[in-house]
């Protein structure tokens, strides 16, 4: 049985996928994950998930973000000459970063 492994580097971080292990049950999967995926890289916590329980949907099946122009959903679409609150600026910067990442993915 294959278990997908997700590693969290620091407390409060997200668990992100880092690989998988073969194991007959959850306890063994946790032990193998500790050895195979928590040994060298900084690790706070690991999750193990049976591979067969993972559902996947990919870009061949759906158009992520839709097929029409949804620029109205982005902070960048609205311009004003006033100074924005710092958390609004931070949100827009994250959106700009996400949009840039998406554009790169299209190339």
């Amino acid at each position: 049985m294959i278990w997908e492994v997700f590693r969290q580097e620091k407390p409060g971080d997200y668990h992100t996928h880092c690989g998988n292990v073969h194991a007959p049950d959850r306890e063994m999967a946790k032990q193998f994950a500790v050895i195979q995926h928590g040994r060298r890289k900084p690790t706070e916590s690991l999750w193990v998930v049976p591979q067969e329980e993972v559902g996947e949907v990919d870009a061949d099946e759906v158009a992520f973000g839709g097929t029409t122009d949804k620029s109205y959903r982005w902070a960048m679409a609205y311009t004003s000459s006033t100074e924005h609150a710092k958390e609004v600026i931070a949100s827009q910067q994250e959106q700009e970063q996400a949009e840039a990442d998406r554009q790169r993915g299209d190339d």
Partner: protein
């Protein structure tokens, strides 16, 4: 873990469902996150009718996207609240429907004209964002993670709200007057968004000690005023005479809290304010009207061939 250990360890994103948290912490966090989730839902229901009143197709698209986002935030937050193991999402939605679920003061008031839309979509969302940005450092990790996504999306809401306001503020004299009237009516409620002053707040101490909350009501209110009083002025809005707001030097503002109607605030907070009751009931009616959808998705246990969902282990 006992409460003393929780207080010692309390820090940003410190605790997750893998930790054995004391009931006092889990109840306090549930109360706070459930309130937040309820507010997202009730805010969305308050704004929803204005999708139809949007003055252009662009506004309609953007505004319906925003309302959809808010419902999504409610869902995210119910998940974060459920992760504490005190209440299920169904229990929280039922509490909201039967009038036990508490939510933000501003969403108890009726909205009648398009000029009121930016009061919510700019000022209330701006106030919410100021608070939410601090909650990215909440000690309950699922709550902080929900805030990451909420804050990511909220920048669009606030800037779109500002765009609606800017259009009216530079429109006809009638539009400007409508905007000012809406502002006069909403401004005191918006200031009360952050709740009573710290000495009157009942829940602050424990929530702060265990890191659920990062800032006090007063700190957040003042930080909001510092950013948004100049904003309002820059759009030609006149700040109402009451509550008195004093500039205490270097761009900082302070509000005379006794000028605000705290009796009304506490009536609202207890779900006893008449228009608010109507809004609770109309959301309840909406929840009941789509019961059949939930039943279809979740499967009716009484129907032949259907089976109960497998128990999570």
């Amino acid at each position: 873990m006992d409460v003393e250990t929780v207080k010692e360890r309390a820090g940003p994103r410190e605790f997750s469902p893998a930790d054995d948290m004391p009931e006092k912490y889990r109840k306090a966090a549930t109360r706070m996150i459930q309130f937040h989730a309820n507010s997202e839902i009730m805010g969305a229901y308050l704004e929803k009718p204005f999708i139809r009143q949007a003055p252009s197709i662009d506004r309609k698209l953007a505004f319906s996207a925003k309302v959809q986002d808010e419902i999504g935030h409610g869902q995210l937050l119910y998940r974060a609240a459920e992760s504490l193991g005190i209440k299920t999402r169904e229990e929280m939605l039922d509490e909201l429907a039967n009038g036990e679920g508490k939510f933000l003061n501003c969403f108890h008031y009726p909205m009648e004209s398009w000029a009121e839309v930016p009061m919510i979509a700019f000022f209330v969302d701006g106030a919410a964002m100021r608070r939410q940005a601090t909650l990215k450092s909440s000690s309950w990790e699922p709550y902080a993670h929900a805030m990451d996504k909420v804050c990511f999306e909220e920048g669009f809401h606030v800037k779109h709200g500002e765009d609606i306001m800017a259009r009216m503020a530079t429109g006809s004299r009638k539009e400007q007057q409508m905007l000012q009237d809406a502002f006069d009516e909403w401004w005191p409620r918006i200031i009360q968004f952050f709740g009573p002053t710290d000495d009157k707040s009942t829940h602050h101490d424990f929530s702060a000690e265990v890191g659920l909350k990062q800032k006090t009501n007063d700190e957040l209110r003042n930080a909001f005023l510092d950013a948004y009083v100049p904003k309002a002025k820059s759009y030609g809005l006149e700040i109402p005479e009451y509550p008195r707001i004093e500039e205490v030097g270097d761009g900082e503002y302070h509000v005379e809290e006794d000028d605000l109607d705290w009796d009304e605030f506490f009536t609202v907070s207890k779900n006893e304010y008449e228009p608010g009751k109507g809004q609770i009931d109309s959301r309840k009616a909406a929840q009941e009207a789509v019961d059949w959808v939930r039943d279809t998705i979740e499967g009716d246990a009484n129907l032949p061939g259907s089976q109960a969902a497998p128990a999570a282990d």
